[in-house]
Each structure stands twice: as C-alpha cells, then as structure tokens.
C-alpha cells in the first residue's frame, strides 16, 4: 500500500540513484538512526552496553569488513582474528606512545596500519584463489597471533603479556578505561559504525565496488573489460582490513579493556565473523548487521531464558545453547542459503505487492 515506487517521482539523477529509492524505506532508515542516537542512549545501562550493544556494533564493523572481501570481492579469508589483533595492538601502541592524541585518531590509524598488513597478506591472492587463498590467510592468522605473543615490544614488556587500555577521553568524556559510562561507549561505537557503514554502502555502489564484483563474478572476464586485478584485489584487502582493524581496536580499547591475543583473537574469532557474514548474507551491508545480531544476541538471549527464566543448571544451559545456535544456523542455511539479507529482500518484494499480490 505505502511501500512502493509508484507516485514517488524523481526529478534529478541524484535523487534517482539514492540508496533508499522508496520513501517508506528512507523514513524507516531515518527512524532507526533517530532511535539509535536519540532514544537508546537514555535507556542504556552497563549491562545492555557491555553485553549487547557494544559487542553487536563492533562485530557489525568486522562483519562489514569481511563482507567487503568475501561477499563483494570473492576472496575468501580466514585471517580476520589476526587482523583484529593487528588493530588492537596498533591501537595499544599508539595509545601508550602518544597519550595526548585523541583516541578517535588512534582507532582510525590502527585501522590504517591493519590495512597495510592486510595488503601484505593479500599479495598471494594475485596468484591463488578459492580454498588455496583461504589457507594462505589462515597462515596470517597463526603468524600474527604468534608474533604478538612472542615479541614483548608489542605488549610493552608487561609481565603477563596482557595489554590493557588506559583511560582516554573525547570532549571530556572517558571512552576507554573503567570510568567509561555506558552512554559514552555506545555512542563512540555507534558513530563509527554509522560512518563506516555509510562509507561501505557508497563504496560498493560506485566504481570501486563494481570492480570488486566484476572480479568476484569472473576474474578473467573482468580483466578483459579493463578491470585491473592487482589494484582491485589489493584495494579490497586494504579496505576490508581497515574495517577489521578498527573493529579490533574498538574490541580491545572500548569493549574489553584488556585482552590477551591467543584468547581474544584466535582462530575461533575468524570463524565467528565468517559465520556472521555467511548467515547474514554475502554481499550485503544489511546482512552484516543481521549476521552480527544473530550470533551476538542469540546466545545472550538463550542464556537469559534458560538460566534466568527456567532456572536450568548453567552447564546444561550452555550445552543446549550451543546445540540450539548450531541447529538454527543449519536450518537457516537450508531454508535460505543466501542468508538473512535474502529473507529481508524477499520480504520487501512481497511488501511492494501487498495487499494485492495478484
């Protein structure tokens, strides 16, 4: 009825090529932003920030980053955990070396350093692809974790090899360290998520994104029509790693406050983020959010229901939770192999026809 293009006339090319061409969609997007910025900060407390919103936002950044590489450019990567570690350790070294510089700049610089490392480990993608590339990036994962464990310079020679984030402020409000309020944490992450998601969405709509997709769909054909595989593949690795590096820096400095590399950035993190991308939907920004929400929120929800409401023993609940999440992943992928984003797309198609589907 109200969800359709009909009657929504565009009079300029800019209007015509906007991200949300349907008026209802556009308003929905503004409403989500308004709630996220205007309502949630007034309701949020420590539990909601630390257990739900902050991890969701940070994993969403990482999932967007991996989605750029895997979903848009078709290069499989299993090195996400290692790249997040690069972001975290870069952020830590910058924070402690230049305490007077704003944390926002450090987080972005950490992303930049990760982009450099990502390009380096992306070089094999020029010669190999598919499963072979996945194995090459797996080597990055293990090498980087080993490196941050082995070289004490990275953790400032602390006795335990842990890195911990000192307090840093933006406009007088602490955003890292123990004195951080739930609002500050949430808003800092939210601003970065919105900015980076907006950037990613527009990158994928433009020349850069189209080149990535051409390489993904068939690299030889893309080369014939004039897409340079070298710059395209490496730019995908660089931008993807930038996002993942920012996510790693936030994961360490804002979310956890102290990490040890093997535990926080191990191979299981690489798989977790890959699962987010696959469940959410390859090649979709919305899918990255949906996948992150699914894998971050569902375990917390199940735990609250099983232990908090039904009073089950914690070990039984933990095991059942693993089984339920696993089963849901399988069911979802059988029912809709293209992920949650495809379900969303189908729902929108149906909405266009509603209430007169014939």
């Amino acid at each position: 009825m109200f969800y359709r293009e009909a009657g929504d006339f565009k009079t300029s090319y800019v209007d015509d090529s906007q991200t949300f061409p349907i008026k209802f969609d556009r308003w929905r997007y503004y409403a989500v932003l308004a709630v996220a910025f205007g309502v949630v900060p007034f309701l949020i407390n420590d539990y909601w920030a630390n257990a739900v919103f902050v991890p969701f936002l940070i994993y969403a950044i990482a999932a967007i980053g991996l989605n750029i590489l895997v979903g848009y450019c078709g290069q499989v990567s299993l090195g996400t955990g290692g790249f997040m570690a690069v972001g975290a350790y870069a952020c830590y070294k910058l924070m402690t070396a230049f305490p007077e510089v704003s944390i926002l700049i450090h987080v972005l610089l950490a992303g930049g350093i990760t982009a450099g490392v990502g390009v380096l480990f992306g070089l094999p993608s020029l010669r190999i692809k598919g499963f072979y590339l996945a194995v090459a990036t797996l080597a990055a994962q293990f090498f980087l974790v080993w490196l941050f464990n082995k070289v004490p310079w990275f953790y400032n020679y602390s006795a335990s090899g842990q890195i911990s984030a000192p307090e840093r402020t933006i406009l007088g409000h602490a955003v890292t360290g123990a004195a951080t309020t739930a609002q500050a944490k949430y808003l800092f992450c939210l601003v970065l998520v919105v900015g980076l998601a907006w950037l990613a969405r527009n990158l994928t709509r433009g020349t850069v994104g189209r080149k990535w997709m051409a390489i993904r769909d068939m690299d030889i054909a893309a080369e014939i029509i004039g897409v340079n595989p070298l710059t395209t593949k490496l730019s995908a690795f660089a931008i993807s790693s930038f996002y993942i590096g920012v996510a790693g820096a936030l994961f360490f400095s804002v979310y956890l406050g102290a990490v040890e590399v093997g535990e926080a950035f191990g191979i299981q993190k690489s798989f977790l983020i890959l699962f987010m991308v696959i469940i959410g939907g390859l090649g979709s920004i919305f899918g990255s959010f949906a996948g992150a929400a699914f894998l971050v929120l569902l375990p917390v929800l199940l735990k609250n229901i099983l232990v908090g409401q039904l009073d089950w023993p914690t070990d039984l609940a933990a095991h059942i939770e693993l089984m339920i999440v696993g089963a849901l992943i399988v069911i979802f992928l059988i029912a809709e192999p293209h992920g949650l984003a495809q379900l969303w797309r189908l729902a929108k198609e149906k909405l266009r026809l509603w209430p007169f589907p014939h």
């Binding site: 539990y47 630390n50 535990e263």
Partner: protein, 426 residues
C-alpha cells in the same frame, strides 16, 4: 529481528526474581576445555555456602545466595556475567580465571566491589597500596615459583648452579606470570631457565615434549590448566621423564590431571596451598546438611578432591570476610564497600580454622591496608598412583620475599603510573 530480541530480553530482565540479601555470584565454568578444573571448584564453592545456609542460617543471620554464571573461561562471557550479576547487589567476585581477573580489576575498582583471587590473578595486586579492591591472599603465582625453586634448592643441597629448569606454561597471562620471577631467581641461584609455551587449549604437546627430550632439563615446572595438565603428564610419562623431577603449580595438581596417565603419573609432584582429602571435621557437617539432604552442587562426585577443597577454601575466606564486615559495620546486611573493608581487616588464625572444622588445612594469615597478599607459603604434594592419593611431603615452605617484594613493587608501580592511581595507606 533485533528489536523483537531486545523487547524479549527486556521483558526477561524485568522478571528476574528477588534475591537473598548476601549475594556472592559464582562465575564458574562447567563447559569447555577447562571444565575439569572449573567443575570441582564451583561445587566446593557452592556446597560451603549451602552448608552455612542450612546449618547456621547463613552468615550473621543473613542467607547467602550464589547465582551461578557460566563463563567457559572466556573473557567476553566473563564480562557479560559480571555485568549481569553486579546489579543484583553482588558483594564479591571470584572468577577463577586470570584473564577475567585482568578484565575485572579496573571495573571492580570503579564499582567499589572487592575481587578475591586466591592463588591466581594479577600477582602484584598483593600490594594493597595500589590495588584497593583486589585481594589474593594466602598465596600467589610468584610465591609459587619461589617456593618451587626453594624446594629444588633443598633437594640439591642449596645449590642449583649449572642445573637446567624448563617451564612448561599455558601461553596466556596465567602461564606467563611466573616467568619474570623465575628469571630473577635464575640470576640469584645460577640455574638455566628454558621456556616452553603451550597454546590454548593444550591438547597437542608433542613438539614441546620433543624439545624437552632434546634439551634434557634437570627439572620441569608446569603452569598448566584444564586439559593441558593431563596431556602434559601423559607426554612426560611417554618420554619417560623422571616424574619426581616434574613439579606443577597448584592449578596443575588435582586428581583429574594425574588419573588419565595411570601408573605413569606415579611420583608427580605439585604445589599445594591447603590440605586435601576428607579427614576434616567439616565433612561430617557437609554430609549431614548438604550431601545427605540432596543439596550438593553439580553431580556431587567431586567431594574431597583437591580443587573441591580449594573452592571450599575460597568460600570459607569470603564468608569470614563477610563476617568481619558485619562485625565492623555493626549490621548484618552489609554492602560491597563494607565487605571490602572486611577483606582488608581479615585475620584467619589456626584456632579459627579448627573452629570451622578444618584444622591444619591452610596457613594462618592477616591482611592489612597495604598487604593484600598474605604470607605466600605453600606445601609440596606427591601423587601415589597405586593408592590414587596425594600425600604431602613437606611442611609449609615460605617464599623468598627478598626477590619477590621488589618485583611486586615494580609491577604495581607500573600499573599505578599507567592508570594515575595515588598510593593509599600512607
């Protein structure tokens, strides 16, 4: 989708039932590769509080509640558990994980809740001048490293020069803690230290033990946890390393670690910071009020084991600190800040341990504003595979404070400088 989830979860958060007045959350782990250590500890912890509730009606007339939260030894889940339970009026945390402890130190300090980490966590928290809310008495990792070296000195007539000692450690904050102490001690005593890291979770150690077979160290020390312990002891048996020269820290010395290796584990030694077994009067009460009443935590099959005893010991110290807090505050319904004061003023004497039904179980200690670390002495126990039993082979050995105190001061000063903490107690 997110909104429905959020709404659902909100509804649940609102419906959480009201809790008893003294809340001591149990951040336990009964799943994952560290469950062999987590389960007995959590059971002992819960059972002791159940005993207090059933026999004495709680502490000072207030019932104790132990909401349990599963962390799986994972720091992200640990943070979630902390945030989920702190709103319920939690009085003290005891996460049984060095990684989670590092996370929680700044958080509990900001929230004013005490953190009790007996025998684990950040060693330099023993300096109460810097770490106002963290307590790790009666002993910590650096004490353990020093006691192990002292024991080896005794074995070798006071001279370790020219000996080679290997440290097999869990490659994490936990396993790396003793390295600095062992390095300092190697300068003092002239032994050579070989570091052999084992990555999480430690099921695969062939290359590490190959290295040990090649290097032929005189002694092997181990800082392991979870499945890593059992695998290491099995591997040591496989390469026929003399078991009496293999010493684990107190987290590598439970029945679950040695039983899988069978006779091969005979003679393996480990540190201990308390007694073990069921030859203590407290077990008569536990049997009457907890086990026979069907109120035992978990499956009830861990009773009397080393880590069960340790969980019970932690619960005992926490309950004594709450008792002390009640005495100081003059009220039975104490809050977290008062419990912190209770921890700081706590003194546990041998007479008090005997009164509580655990004579000669742990060392007596007294905390103060600047001393949150206790005396740090430890025992050495040895495994008898045929009797399936740990037996104590030494009395309490005191650590080398001459080496440890400057290290603690140095590390805590670094923490204070990083976080702009002013020293207290001056």
């Amino acid at each position: 989708m997110k909104k429905t989830l959020t709404a659902l979860a909100l509804a649940m958060a609102a419906a959480t039932p009201a809790l008893a007045e003294l809340v001591v959350p149990n951040l336990s782990y009964r799943t994952g590769p560290y469950a062999p250590g987590g389960i007995p500890y959590a059971d002992g912890f819960n059972d002791y509080f159940t005993l207090l509730n059933e026999r004495d009606g709680g502490i000072g007339g207030e019932k104790v509640a132990n909401p349990e939260c599963e962390t799986a030894y994972n720091t992200e889940k640990g943070v979630e558990c902390y945030e989920a339970t702190k709103g319920s009026g939690a009085l003290v945390y005891n996460p049984l994980s060095t990684g989670i402890t590092y996370q929680l130190i700044p958080k509990v300090t900001a929230d004013g809740i005490p953190l009790y980490t007996p025998g684990y966590g950040r060693t330099s928290a023993a300096n109460g001048k810097v770490f106002s809310n963290v307590f790790n008495y009666p002993a910590n990792y650096w004490d353990a490293a020093s006691v192990a070296v002292k024991y080896l000195l005794d074995e070798n007539g006071g001279d370790l020069s020219g000996k080679k000692i290997a440290l097999v450690y869990h490659n994490s904050a936990y396993g790396k803690e003793p390295i600095r102490t062992l390095q300092e001690l190697s300068k003092k005593h002239g032994y050579e230290l070989v570091e052999v890291p084992v990555d999480h979770p430690g099921q695969e150690q062939k290359s590490q033990w190959l290295q040990i077979r090649r290097d032929k160290p005189d002694y092997v020390l181990m800082w392991g946890w979870g499945v890593m312990n059992a695998v290491a002891i099995q591997e040591a048996a496989n390469i026929k390393f003399p078991m009496e020269n293999f010493i684990g820290v107190w987290w590598s010395g439970s029945e679950n670690d040695v039983l899988p290796a069978g006779d091969g584990a005979n003679g393996y030694k480990s540190l201990a910071m308390h007694g073990t077994g069921m030859d203590y009067p407290v077990y008569a009460d536990l049997k009457q009020y907890v086990y026979d009443a069907g109120k035992a935590s978990g499956a009830g099959d861990q009773v009397g084991s080393v880590l069960y005893s340790r969980g019970m010991y932690a619960a005992l110290v926490i309950s004594e600190a709450i008792r002390k807090a009640q005495e100081l505050a003059g009220t039975s319904a104490v809050n977290a800040a008062q419990v912190r004061d209770g921890f700081e003023a706590l003194e546990i004497t041998e007479e008090r341990m005997a009164e509580l039904g655990l004579p000669h179980f742990g060392q007596p200690f007294a905390a103060s504003c600047s001393d949150h670390g206790g005396p740090g002495a430890a025992l050495i126990q040895q495994w008898d595979a045929s009797a399936k039993k740990w037996s104590l082979i030494t009395g309490f050995i005191a650590p080398d404070d001459e080496v440890l105190t400057p290290l603690v001061m140095e590390d805590s000063a670094a923490f204070a400088a990083e976080n702009n903490i002013a020293e207290r107690c001056n």
